[in-house]
Amino acid sequence: MALPRSFKRALWVFHIATGSCNGCDIEIVAALTPRYDVERFGIMLTGTPRHADVLLVTGPVTRPMLPRLKRVYDQTPDPKAVVVVGGCGCTGGVFYESYNIVGPVDEVIPVDVYVPGCPARPEAIIDGVVKAVTKLETLEKAGVV
């Protein structure tokens, strides 16, 4: 499956918080502000995973969010990239092995890029998204996607 034309023109990103403290979510919003302005690269947050190319996942995946995260992943059209933002999503963070946590994220859905940090800085988030795109483009050149 080749990358769609829209993928090469502009990258639409869907953000899902799976129980984060909102620190990483605020940093994602910061990446959209004029200081970082990711929209100049064509990276835009979209309101539905059905229009998204990349999933930005924050939080350690609480038990109630488990089916929702799986459904959002399934609803994202292929090919897609998953970027985990923040220490909680990458490893469970301070919630590691908590009774109400089923994460980290890679226990639930396949993850392409990990962006650690508590919270992750906007530069790191942008770098993570770019790495995810690079990975997909590399796979496309290799004829995998």
Binding site: P67, R68, D78
Partner: protein
């Protein structure tokens, strides 16, 4: 051709039909440029409801007319309670009400006339 011109404006059904056809063509043209790689029969073709599953029962999604004027129904609950009891859903009951009302009107007309 079939048009009407008056002081209030102009109306031409052919012009409007052509306009709607043009809108339809533009709509289909835009739609045809959309992504076609959605996998049918999977969650990719389901509506996004904040990650929640689509409710199976239509009642949970449907906004009834009663949701808009429930205050009036509540205010006139004594009236509605009685009137609803009359709405049995049986056709013969409605016909009996119709004949009764018709007879009453007939008697009133005779009485006045």
């Amino acid at each position: 051709m079939g048009g009407i011109n008056s002081g209030f404006g102009a109306w031409n059904p052919i012009a409007w039909t052509l306009l709607f056809l043009g809108i339809l063509i533009v709509g289909f043209a835009v739609r045809s440029r959309g992504r076609k790689d959605y996998k049918r029969g999977t969650d990719q073709a389901q509506p996004f409801l904040s990650g929640n599953p689509e409710p199976e029962a239509a009642e949970t999604l449907h906004v009834r007319g009663e949701n808009l004027y429930w205050g009036m129904v509540h205010g006139l609950s004594a009236y509605y309670k009685r009137v609803r009891a009359w709405h049995t859903g049986i056709l013969s009951d409605y016909v009996a009400w119709f004949i009764g009302a018709l007879g009453l009107v007939f008697i009133i007309l005779i009485w006045i006339g």
